[in-house]
Amino acid sequence: MSNIDYTIEPEVVEGKPSHSAVNDAIAKPLETKPTWKYYIALGISSTLLLIGAVCLGYSFYYGIGLWGNNQPVGWAVPIVNFVFWVGIGHAGTLISAILFLFRQRWRTGIARFAEAMTIFAVITAGLFPLIHTGRPWLAGYLFPLPNQHHLWVNFTSPLIWDVFAVSTYLTVSFVFWYIGLIPDLAMLRDRTTSKIKKVIYSIFSLGWRHSNRHWNHYEMIYLILAGFATPLVLSVHTIVSFDFAVSILPGWHTTIFPPYFVAGAVFSGFAMVQNVLIIVRKIFNLEHIITLDTLEKMNKVMLATGMMVGYAYGVEFFIAWYSGNPLESFVFLNRAFGNYAWAYWIMVSCNVIFTQLFWFKKIRRSIVPMFIIGVLVNVGMWFERFVIVVTTLSKDFLPSNWDYYKPTLVDIGILLGSFGLFFTLVILFIRSLPVVSISEVKAVIKGSQPGHH
């Protein structure tokens, strides 16, 4: 421990592989036939997707009465899912854009994957505001499109802000991700022997010739996009939190929500990236590129954001007491000790208590414990949104309004379906595009940088 020289950044890629070895390692999944394990994984995820699709079909046909929502709990599991998946989508852009601006070279191994997950998570999340409405066939009303009614949307509604925030985030993340893919697609184009693939790669690599001029433009636009994406990381979840903070309900109407939501989003996003990458690096033998050091760094981020989230939990209670507002203190006491106390304590234990184990370096660097903690963090973060959305609504101002909410099987089916959609997209992605940015990894291999000789 003591002989580490902190003035020198440790290598982010282990073993100094040659450029062609990097090419081979990363392009291998794209150039070989998948094994039966791949099909099993795809089968499981697409089954989940199908369950979700069937449940949604039912809901479209019969009405969303098939869900558990009631008066007063107008929003429940679908909105919980929405916030959860938007949160998952936060790690990607944070890693690729913010860490890029901060010149964190360890991000190169995970950036591509994290970004792809961002896009998939936002796609998954974006479905929910549309399908959760009573009349989803009229979801077009939510967009400011010219229409025969000569009606405009209501710009004071946070749901409209959501529409803009999420669609902007999705667009920018996608462009950023695609720009980063261009050099890799060109490399794949040059490698492939299949004619069909060649055509596809040729189209999508936009005539990239690895020329200096190309690299010059590329670096410029990548930097600009990173700068552009950075505020979005903060804005999306801030605006999602406005859905709640702008309302008048005690428990929702709090100023702490934007930072609290962003921290929570990064927290859960990192947990999801860590989880998936642990599997990917193992299966595709990328342990030298997505190194244990990288995973440890992610765990540290989770430890930090987890404590931010825990701090927010504490502050909410403190302010409920300090403000002297009896409605506010009732809501928080009700969360901790009321009907939904079980959800609250799942949330606290998963998000605050278990993550404390990351103080131990041994746990930060052991695959199985960190994987389990990552899973728990996502469970905890799902329940955080459940606690915020459901407990607040279920007991509000007038005691005569109160009612208990129970999700139905259809609710659970749609939740499973959202996981199915996400993982199906992830599984298709790992066989069709390079999961690690080849060009960026090459740049961080020891010896690639300009040096004395």
Binding site: Q71, R135, Y141, S157, L159, I160, I248, L398, Y404
Partner: protein, 1020 residues
């Protein structure tokens, strides 16, 4: 050369005639004088004219409601029908014995709404929740549409004439064999029908008529008869009573002339005349709505009622005899009779504070002649007797008025027991059940079901299936009240008429028509109408001295709906104190007691297939779609019971399995259950609804009160789901205790505090807003609800349902918390679980100026109108439910399904029910939000009328449906900018407050804080 050609022999032989025929073969024109009618025989023209007319008549005139032809405009406008304009017809409600006057609103010939007839002196324009919803029974798709005959134990659908000819045969057979013809009916209030029955009896002398009322308080009549022999029974006029002591009476909700009672009771609850507030003590075992409105409510086991009243009388005649104003009271006799009963001992034995009983005594003594003791319909004979006696002692007989009484006196239960025996021994040849359900209504030991099977002909005339029809040989469908003629006499000089407002929807006749035709031998559709007119011409018109021709008189009565012949005053009462010797008053041990009560909304069970009424929340517990055994929290704990646990109750060998429901304030060792539920033979809606407590009763109960002592309770290992619209929690739960008070949702004081200025409304003075204030000019709508007057009867909910096409969701959806009613009455309990206090509060959209629902809607589907309404645009709504989340009152309702389709397999999409909808109100589709609109359709209509008449719209032009229905006139609606208006007055009243004022969303419903008429010394 000059050859003549001929074409026929005739032409050759009669050339002149042929020439003439040739010329007239095609007459050039038809002369004016031409008249086909003058032609001999059936001319071609006449034939064509007749056949054209036949086709025309066949294709147009014979059309009825069931036809689905093309929609064509009226070629000739029917008289008094203007499309788009409602017509109102006065009539009489036959839902219960009160026979309230009603106004039926029809649109394009179909009834869509019922309200009280303001000209009726009894109900003065108000009717109950049941009366409001009774219109659904007219369109009930499960009504009998055909007649039925039972052959080989199965019902066969046949034409009306087949059953009718069987009926004629049965009548002649029975009378020729000298066998009895038993006519069983609900109470008969119709003088003309009574006459028809009389004529029927004359024609068929073996006829006997049996009338009864479900759960009739025979014990009460018996007690009255003992105390005041040969005097018609009187009831309390609550407007005269300054102090009311009620013993298990639900006089504000189910008993007596309750609509009248409500009006008279709240007349003495005017905050601007707070000194004149009445004081109301309720002693009861069940938690009734009436008890919820009491200033003091003392829970007491029913077995202790007699002891209580005896001790009370003893206290008055021994301790305070000097104070008695009524000098005719035989004090010494009473002393002797009641000396064994001591009020202080009674208080100690039953754990009641003696001081609270003393305050009853002092209040009653101070208000002699101005107070009233009321006993409930379910209690035993002795309790009624002592109640009447107490009124006599205190001189309260001045507060009595004539009680409604049927034209034919009702039979006692002994008559039905005898009838059952006669049927079994074969003495009865024919039974005719007239719109009643005795098999369900009477206890099983009278055994009517079995007795019917011994009779060769049992005819049941009913609107829809019931238990009695199930045991009949023939079923004749009868017309709904809205399809029928009728007249009613209420016993105190008032006549009212019922008139049909729609052609019978199905092949039905009214029961009067059928019986009449048996008398005169002619079965004509309109026979009773003519009979009724003749009856009035001969019997009533001569007495009226109206000075106009009969026709004019008749139409004016028909127009008004009521005709007051004379004011009948009660006879002076002469109390028979001798009867005291006959009555035995024995103190009873407090044992487990079960009390059977009348239901709030489903009448005698006849409305048990009406989904609107089944979904109306119970006024106290908010349970829908079921009844249950109410039990106190303490007793439930002692038996380890939770709400919904099944128990088996045993009384005298009879058993009932029903779930319990924990209700605070039920007396110790008491179970209370409402009857009328648990119908076995109803339609699809009423199936499996509730439990039938009549199973526990025996014939003795029908003559001596519906209280069962010494019942045994055993917990069963089963659970039942009761659907309540609110969450229930223990009153001991300190976490949520009295939140309604600490959050200033309910603000209450006492009369005393208010009068001496100590009671002040909690107001939020400091209000900041970042939103620019919107200025309103012109009419701006607002509502005020006087919580002193609101007694929580639920008529507003029912009226709103009918007016606004509010869907029924069904029990499963109520359990999910998705009921759709736009207005609800919140019940808040405070105090201890054993003796709680109830606060009631109608809650509806508050139409906030800065409505929190509006700014969060992403598509502007909810917005504000220039006259201050919070509007809902159904077409634009995508159903994000954000508005509902952000509504602090949670008064928005979401269509989670197309409930019309979802409920009972598309019940509300059946043909007949489509006629029920108010055409002025959009039927909402699945996935949209809805809520109270302040009856915008009525506002629009009033505005149109004002425009047409060229005047300004005034706030008083509009009445909302809930306001119109409220029997207590607790709801005031109007223009808050009109300084003359009532709503302006109440909005600025010092007792007015807004719920959740601190949110500064500027609600527009003002609540007038409730004052309780407590005595000062209790304020500790």
């Amino acid at each position: 050369m000059d050859r003549k050609y001929w074409k026929s022999v005739e032409e050759l032989k009669f050339p002149a005639k042929s020439q003439m025929l040739k010329q007239t073969e095609f007459p050039s024109d038809i002369k004016e004088e031409f008249d086909p009618n003058k032609l001999k025989g059936l001319s071609r023209r006449k034939f064509l004219a007749i056949s054209a007319a036949t086709v025309a008549v066949a294709t147009t005139a014979c059309k009825n409601y069931r036809d689905k032809g093309a929609i064509v405009p009226y070629n000739q406008k029917p008289e008094n029908v203007l499309p788009g304009k409602a017509n109102y017809y006065s009539s009489t409600c036959t839902g219960c014995a009160n026979h309230c006057g009603i106004l039926i609103k029809t649109r394009e010939g179909r009834p869509i709404k019922v309200d009280g007839n303001p000209d009726h002196p009894g109900n003065k324009g108000k009717i109950c929740a049941t009366g409001q919803a009774a219109i659904l029974n007219l369109y009930d798709p499960e009504r009998y549409k055909k007649s039925y005959v039972r052959r080989n134990n199965t019902l066969q659908e046949v034409g009306f004439t087949a059953v009718y000819s069987d009926l004629i045969r049965a009548v002649t057979e029975a009378s020729s064999h000298g066998k009895e013809i038993s006519i069983i009916s609900k109470p008969i209030f119709s003088p003309s029908f009574a006459k028809i029955l009389n004529e029927f009896q004359q024609k068929y002398p073996t006829t006997k008529i049996y009338t009864y009322e479900f759960l009739e308080p025979y014990a009460k009549e018996k007690a009255w008869e003992e105390l005041y022999p040969n005097t018609p029974m009187l009831e309390v006029d609550f407007s005269k009573a300054k102090v009311i002591l009620s013993i298990e009476s639900n006089f504000l909700a189910t008993e007596g002339s309750f609509i009248k009672n409500i009006r008279e009771f709240v007349a003495n609850r005017n905050v601007d005349n707070a000194k004149e507030f009445n004081r109301f003590y309720a002693i009861e075992s069940d938690f009734t709505l009436t008890g919820a409105n009491a200033d003091y409510r003392i829970p007491l086991n029913p077995s202790q009622f007699t002891t209580f009243l005896a001790s009370l009388i003893n206290e008055i005649v021994t301790q305070h005899s000097g104070k008695l104003v009524n000098t005719s009271v035989p004090v010494s006799k009473l002393n002797a009779k009641f000396s064994g009963f001591n009020l202080e001992d009674f208080a100690r034995q039953n754990g009641i504070k003696f001081s609270s009983l003393q305050s009853i005594v002092s209040d009653l003594l101070e208000n002699q002649g101005k107070s009233a003791v009321v006993t409930g319909d379910s209690v035993p004979y002795e309790v009624h007797y002592l109640g009447f006696l107490l009124n006599e002692i205190l001189g309260n007989t001045k507060c009595y008025r004539i009680a409604p009484k049927p034209v034919l006196p009702n039979n006692r239960v002994v008559d039905f027991v005898a009838l059952s025996e006669k049927m079994k021994s074969g003495q009865v040849g024919l039974v005719i059940n007239l719109d009643c359900n005795p098999v369900f209504h009477f206890s099983k030991d009278i055994d009517l079901a079995n007795a019917f099977s011994k009779v060769s002909y049992v005819f049941t005339m009913a609107e829809s299936q019931n238990e009695t029809a199930e045991h009949s040989t023939h079923i004749l469908p009868i017309s709904h009240n809205f399809e029928s003629w009728g007249d009613f006499y209420n016993g105190w000089g008032l006549y009212s008429l019922a008139q049909p407002v729609i052609e019978p929807l199905y092949e039905t006749y009214q029961k009067e028509s059928i019986i009449l035709s048996l008398v005169d031998g002619k079965m004509i559709y309109d026979n009773y109408h003519k009979y009724l007119q003749n009856f009035w011409q001969n019997e009533i018109y001569p007495k009226s001295n109206s000075g106009v021709a009969f026709e004019q008189f008749w139409f004016s009565v028909l127009h008004d709906g009521v005709f007051k012949l004379e004011q009948i005053e009660p006879q002076p009462l002469v109390c028979n104190y001798q009867s005291l010797d006959k009555i035995a008053i024995n103190p009873q041990e407090t044992s487990w007691t079960l009390i059977v009560k009348k239901p709030y909304f489903i009448g005698d069970g006849r409305f048990a297939n009406n989904p609107w009424l089944l979904e109306l929340p119970h006024p106290i517990t908010k349970v829908t779609w079921d009844n249950y055994l109410a039990i106190s929290e303490t007793e439930a704990k002692s038996l380890a019971l939770n709400s919904g646990d099944f128990v088996e109750v045993q009384a005298d060998g009879k058993k009932l399995e029903a779930p319990v429901f924990i209700v605070p304030g039920i007396a110790t060792k008491t179970l209370a259950i409402e009857a009328g539920f648990g119908r076995k033979v109803t339609g699809a809606i009423g199936e499996n609804v509730g439990f039938d407590p009549i199973a526990l009763l025996s014939k003795e109960n029908f003559s001596n009160g519906y209280v069962l002592t010494n019942v045994k309770i055993q917990k069963l290992n089963r659970k039942y789901q009761l659907a309540s619209t609110v969450e229930h929690h223990s009153l001991n739960d300190t976490f949520v205790k009295d939140l309604h008070k600490s959050r200033h949702i309910i603000q209450e004081g006492t009369v005393e505090e208010y009068l001496n200025g100590k009671f002040k409304i909690h107001r939020v003075e400091e209000k900041l807003s970042i939103i620019p204030e919107i200025k309103y000019t012109g009419v701006k709508w607002a509502m005020a609800i006087d919580l002193n007057k609101c007694i929580g009867c639920g008529a507003c909910i029912s009226a709103c349902n009918v007016e606004n096409n509010v869907p029924v969701v069904g029990k499963d959806q109520v359990m999910r918390g998705r009921e759709m009613q736009w207005i609800r009455v919140d019940t808040y309990f405070s105090g201890t679980p054993d003796n709680p206090e109830v606060s009631l509060q109608p809650m509806l959209c508050q139409h906030c100026d800065d409505a929190p629902c509006e700014n969060v809607c992403p598509v502007v589907a909810t917005n504000h109108s220039p006259d201050g309404l919070n509007q809902m645009v159904y077409n634009r709504c995508v159903g994000t439910r954000y508005c509902s989340n952000n509504c602090p009152y949670k008064v928005r309702r979401f269509n989670f399904y197309d409930f019309r389709d979802h409920f009972a397999n598309g019940f509300f999409y059946q043909d007949s029910l489509r006629l029920l909808n108010n055409p002025e109100v959009t039927v909402r589709s699945r996935g949209v939000m809805e809520k109270c609109t302040f009856c915008i359709q009525r506002i629009t209509e009033a505005r149109q009328n004002a425009l047409a008449e060229g005047r300004e719209l005034k706030g008083s032009d509009v009445k909302t449906a809930c306001q119109e229905a409220c029997p207590a006139d607790a709801i005031i609606f109007g223009d808050m900018h009109d300084k003359e208006s009532e709503v302006y007055y109440w909005r600025n009243h010092k007792l007015g407050y807004f719920v959740l004022e601190e949110l500064n969303i500027k609600p527009n419903v003002t609540y007038i804080a409730k004052l309780r008429n407590k005595k000062q010394e209790d304020k500790a």
